[in-house]
Symmetry: D3
Subunit: 131 residues, 6 copies
């Protein structure tokens, strides 16, 4: 159960509807996810977060599918159930296959393992990394 | 300061040298990073970890550069200083530019932000993600 | 499903009842939350935890509402679903409005983002912070 | 050692200088912290992050000191050394005393403890939190 | 809902069945947990993970029950609901009593608390720890 | 550099000295670690934390060495550098050998890996764990 109301389009003020319209247009759907409906309780937070997502996830030096997979990797590491579901769906929409998803999870798992080996043993950084 | 001795090649038993040789050959260098020298205190741990890294990071459904960048994303999320240094160096060796690295960090930062917005507001998962 | 039994008042030994009574009195209710009913399987853990909560959350240099909001911030960062629910309820009981809650989450989200930017880029600490 | 160059004002392009100017003006100093000098390698990331910080940390439903203390709480929970230093300094600049800082840390510590008790025992959420 | 299909024995290819057989034999049961059925979508990941678990959790310098309890401690710290359930069950199967489990959680809670006190106050490491 | 002064015995008020005396007596040393000297800025926090440590780490259903190793496991998972050093030293003082430490780290690493595999794939909990 959400800790705030989910704001539906019909009940939303104009500034919220403007963001919902932008989201639906960008994604080519007629639906807005619950994440945005929760943020809409604070229209400035909604607007700012959508602007951030739009800018950061746009094609650039990295392609959008790689960005979505990085998003999934972080969400799995932090255990965000909502984000793991929504960004896995987004990555699949951009072409991630089951084989890619499982390899992604294998890397995420391994990185989480060796992160703790390095931290737990307090391995000193090799001088060449600091040049 | 490491919590275990760093085992140099000259002091290593045969089973450790075999792994060091495999690492140096795979990477085309004559140096073994401190991470492996720390693990070498437990030859089975060293062997198993190297085998895991070799298998998981090999080309497959994802290309090796994407895998290295995912590794960096996880290491930055978990704050593993050693791993952030070593895998950023590895990713650069495989072609990651500064522009790619900064975009990667932008995605990592954003994902860490929205992970907490979704978790903190306890946003319910949209039904279409559960179909 | 809890991994231990939830101990109800009627089934509780005297030392557990004494803590339950103290909790209900301090909170002005006739109900004890599941968290305490789980801890009650180890009466010393129950007593110690309640004493800690009572002392740390008391008015002091910080006011109790600020403390509850910090508790929510940490719980959202760590993704403790139970704690996010219970401490958001407690903060609301002490005067947190929806507007305050959403601003709080915005700060939590931003801090989680910039934490990873600083860690991922390994930004060196400015000398003036170390004086 | 930073994983990217720190961009000094003298070497910065106009769009970066504009943000540096805004930061120095907002803070009433003639210095820009290393965090911003690292982000400046990606001027869009720098601009976006500064805009986010400026908007989120402005006075609103919560006062700026409370926001800084929440930032410190998250940074300590995530172990961001840079952010703990910089936001503790900022909080002190806004009036946080040693007594307030230590009480803040006591709440952060306690929340991290009870988060794991609730998660580890898998305490079920009380029905009244879900109404 | 899992993000991949759960592969049942009847539908599994020979290389997956071989791992399932090994798991069931090692554990003396005729059932394979969902964790393995999810990994089975990538037979190499399944095989590698099972080999790792088998080797790491075997009796050695530490006894298997201590290892299971450490696994529970990490899973509770990271908030892995699945792992907390499965490894608590495994630890109980190896002799962990309720009293041991609650003491374990008390240590986990306390460590999570003092970890943040040390990190948040940036306590310098005592020289004797670095000798 | 610590964010608070480290309080030396000579400069400490009576209530702090009483805790320092208790720590030194319990540990059979004439030195107090920096952790306690930092907490001493808030004598109530110092007293409360020491009482918690003393009670939780005492022999009980688990032996003190197992408790110290669990403490190390949590500290490595959370990346608390101070705590990893101090509790590894404490565990060694109670009999932890290098072989035990490395096996411990292997379990910590593996648990961190499989925690993310289970969370990232959203593996549903097997019904028998919920009975």
């Amino acid at each position: 159960m959400a800790l705030v109301k989910l704001i539906e389009y019909a009940d939303a003020p104009a500034e919220v509807r403007a963001v919902y319209d932008a989201i639906m247009q960008a994604r080519g759907t007629d639906r807005v996810n619950n994440f945005w409906k929760a943020l809409a309780n604070d229209p400035a937070l909604l607007r700012r977060t959508w602007d951030n997502v739009r800018q950061v996830m746009a094609p650039g030096a990295l392609d959008p599918l790689v960005k979505e997979m990085v998003y999934v990797a972080v969400s799995a590491t932090n255990n965000c159930e909502y984000c793991t579901h929504s960004h896995t769906a987004a990555a699949r929409g951009k072409g991630m296959t089951d084989a890619m998803f499982l390899e992604l999870m294998a890397v995420v798992g391994l990185a989480n393992e060796t992160n703790r080996l390095a931290n737990g043993l307090r391995v000193p950084i090799d001088p060449q990394f600091l040049e």
